[in-house]
């Protein structure tokens, strides 16, 4: 036998890679056996309910937290062990924004200028001016949305290669959220910026993100490019039954029963022979919801 031939396309650099990553607080695992690889230039949504471990995962990635097990690398290095290699190339916005409430906005920009080698002061001022956030205002006196924008400005002015955002949309109104996502998408397309953002809602991320990591109860349930994820799932609906026959042929992600009807979310591209089932395409949001409602944990990877 000859060795299998591997055909590789243009090599994609890895932007974020987690291998067996885990974090335990006391006896509770906030994150467990987490493995995924996000290519440079991708825009990835990290989705999960509150408490699923999203913030823990992001804090591990940017080096704020030391992993209990495994490792995570950003741009090929550990933010914790090789901060000099990672931190200047990384922009991070914490969920609570981690700004000094007593500082004026101008002071925050001064912090950025003094602590970062490639600080883009013009970009920062321009961005804040466009949003109408006065530089003389104290951070503590800003609205939640304005604070989010200041934190985001600070991350962007670092001119990062990768931007990690923890629930960036949470504090924003719908218009600002759309504006933010449009800007991120533009930056990813124009400059090759890699974006990893967490959210507990997927609806407006669908158009923006090309990769997906679904996290539930501290474990990765699904990870892969969104188009492949969508292509790999089907919604089966039919008369009320137990899905044992289907489960033999197809991977059932979640099932829903009403008095008369059973709906199954299956991960399979194989043909469904049983004509009682109606087969439908399914959108990303419903796929995510299917995984999040899953009771039995099972790790699935779509490559």
């Amino acid at each position: 036998m000859t060795a299998p031939v591997t055909v590789t396309g243009p090599t994609t650099r890895s932007a974020v890679r987690a291998v067996g990553l885990g974090k335990r607080y006391g006896s509770r695992w906030a994150l467990r056996d987490c493995t995924f690889d996000l290519p440079a230039g991708s825009v990835t949504a990290l989705v999960g309910q509150n408490g699923a471990g999203k913030s823990t995962l992001l804090h591990l990635a940017v080096g704020l937290t030391e992993p209990t097990a495994g490792r995570v690398e950003i741009l090929g290095s550990s933010a914790r062990r090789q901060p000099r290699d990672v931190l200047p190339r990384l922009g991070f916005v914490a969920q609570d924004h981690a700004l000094e409430p007593r500082f004026r906005v101008a002071d925050m920009l001064e912090v950025g200028r003094r602590l970062n080698p490639r600080w883009d002061a013009a970009l920062a001022r321009e961005h804040l001016a466009r949003l109408g956030i006065p530089l003389g205002q104290r951070v503590g006196g800003l609205s939640g949305g304005q604070r989010a924008q200041v934190a985001l400005t600070m991350a962007l002015a670092k001119r990062p290669e990768i931007l990690v955002l923890d629930e960036p949309a949470a504090a924003l109104d719908p218009l600002a959220r759309r504006e933010l996502l449009r800007m991120l998408m533009g930056a990813a397309a124009d400059t090759g910026l890699t974006v990893l953002l967490s959210s507990h809602v997927i609806s407006d991320l669908e158009r923006v993100c090309d990769h997906l990591v679904i996290l539930a109860a501290g474990e990765v349930r699904l990870t892969g490019p969104t188009d492949e994820v969508v292509a790999a799932h089907r919604l089966l609906s039919g008369p009320r039954t137990e899905p044992t026959a289907v489960a033999r042929m197809h991977h059932v992600v979640s099932e829903n029963h009403t008095d008369r009807q059973t709906t199954l979310l299956v991960r399979s591209t194989r043909h469904v022979y049983d004509s009682r089932w109606r087969v439908d395409e399914i959108g990303l949001e419903e796929i995510v919801l299917g995984y999040l409602s899953q009771t039995a944990p099972g790790k699935d990877v779509t490559e």
Partner: protein, 273 residues
């Protein structure tokens, strides 16, 4: 990073400066008045004398300045106050999570920590040294009369106030990083500060050197000595041991402060959230 550390502590440093200026405004005029009265009544010549003129002069000096001299007893809490003013902002920052801002800029966590602790210790030491110098100058006439090895004088003068201040800094940082909440941490630090100070003063400091025993009562002990026990037999520490005792006490409290800061550093470095 120095700029950020200064900017984050600015309000507290200004508060410490205001306290220092206020005390200067009180102590300089009263200190000059006390030194002037001391010279005018030629009390220097009366030290150790028991002539009626001298006793009268001493008595009137005492009556005139008794109130303010007693009031300076409260200055023994100034090291705690300065320690809290310098150390608490870091505890608050860790509690609020704003340290994550600095930790995700382009500087290493080590540099952040070294700069922070550097500003806190240098600042606290400088302010404590200024206050201790001021109070030591102010108390010079009082010390000539009553001695400075007595706890009431010893704790306010020389170099021990600096050591107490660093000890307070260490307590606030260690309690803050262990308890993770600023207000309980400052409370615990204050209680521990007073407790340790009292215990050392009562049970440890009298034994820094073997005390001198006398068969007679305290009138037979040399002037300005620290009376540890008087009565039918007397125990005292001679006044010339002041700097030796200051040195021992300073080393003790600075060592304790170093251990406490070590605990804080370890807690910050192993922080998991």
């Amino acid at each position: 990073m120095t700029w950020l550390a200064w900017r984050q502590q600015r309000s507290e440093i200004l508060a410490a400066t205001a306290i220092l200026l206020l005390l200067t405004a009180i102590l300089v005029p009263t200190g000059l008045g006390m030194a002037w009265a001391f010279d005018r009544d030629e009390l220097a010549g009366c030290l150790g004398q028991t002539t009626p003129t001298c006793l009268g002069a001493l008595d009137s000096f005492e009556r005139r300045f008794e109130g303010i001299i007693d009031a300076t007893g409260w200055f023994s809490l100034l090291p705690l106050l300065i320690g809290v003013l310098f150390a608490a902002p870091l505890v608050v920052e860790l509690d609020r999570g704003t340290h994550r801002l600095a930790w995700t800029q382009s500087i290493t966590r080590r540099r952040w920590l070294v700069t922070k602790l550097g500003l806190i210790t240098v600042g606290a030491t400088a302010y404590a040294a200024l206050l201790a110098g001021l109070i030591t100058w102010w108390r010079a006439p009082v010390d000539d009369l009553y001695g400075r090895l007595r706890p009431a004088a010893f704790q306010l003068e020389g170099i021990v106030p600096i050591a107490y201040t660093l000890f307070a800094v260490g307590l606030v940082l260690a309690a803050g990083t262990v308890l993770r909440r600023p207000v309980p941490a400052i409370g615990v630090a204050a209680v521990l500060f007073v407790t340790v100070r009292v215990l050392v003063e009562t049970y440890v400091r009298p034994h820094y050197q073997p005390a001198v025993h006398l068969a007679g009562d305290s009138a037979d002990a040399p002037r300005l000595a620290w009376m540890i026990r008087s009565g039918p037999s007397t125990t005292y520490q001679p006044a010339d041991r002041f700097w030796l005792f200051q040195g021992i006490e300073t080393v003790t409290f600075v060592a304790a402060a170093a251990c406490l800061v070590g605990i804080a550093v370890w807690r910050i470095r192993t922080r998991s959230r």
